[in-house]
Amino acid sequence: MIVWLVLLLAVPTAPPITHTVEIRGMEFHPADLTVAVGDTIVWINRDIVPHTATGTRRKWDSGQLQQGDSGRYVPRRAGRAPYTCTLHPTMQGMLIIRKE
């Protein structure tokens, strides 16, 4: 038990990070983003028109973000997660989610 605790304390685990994706000029910036499981991704809409950030394979949806609004998502498993704006399907983004 003591050994296990020592090992647990000795192995550094990166704390979750918050990443920001700006939506401006009808694009996601950055369009491709590498994150870790447990990180938070925040989308901020800088455009005049509303947008969404909506997973095309995974079920997350920011809902409509008006200018200045933000939405967030915390991925719980690794993999590639493409997403789009449901209002403007030509807008595409990709999350590359690492295990840690």
Partner: protein, 190 residues
Amino acid sequence: MSRSGHRLLPLALTLVFTSALHAQNPAPAPAAAPDLSDPEVAHVAVTANSIDIDAAKFAQTRTRNAAVRQFAATMITDHSAVNAQAAALATKLGVTPADNAISQSLESGAKQARTTLESLHGAAFDRAYLDREVVYHQAVLDAIDKVLVPTTENAELRKLLVDVGPAVATHLEHAKQLRAQLGAPARTGT
């Protein structure tokens, strides 16, 4: 702003806007931007947005295609958002949008297009509506880049027009993609 070029307006902007609406091939923009006052630019911008909102509202009552309905909903949402910003900016600047020959020409073209669309149903309507959306957004994009932005004096109004450009370009691509999905029979003269 000099008013010397004002008489060029019907000729120049009509080349960009209305010939694109009456015919199916947008005409090239004029080499030199015509002289247009900021209140007139504001009126043209609001009119252009309102026309597309009205077309989309009609499309929602006519189409049975879910993707076309969604596209129309986006047009209403986006162009309403732009008009709200334009109205807020006009209020802030103390500008009263001024009716002009171009706005009137736009409205005239929209009426003709509406008459054509009202005679169509089903897939024929969807194709004609999207054909028109492609032509219209291309014409608006050209007008923003080559006429409205160059002639606008107020920096905030000019920035609003510049900021709107990518949205119009995205609408254009969306309309093209959707139109391609609907398949061949085309262009009924909207």
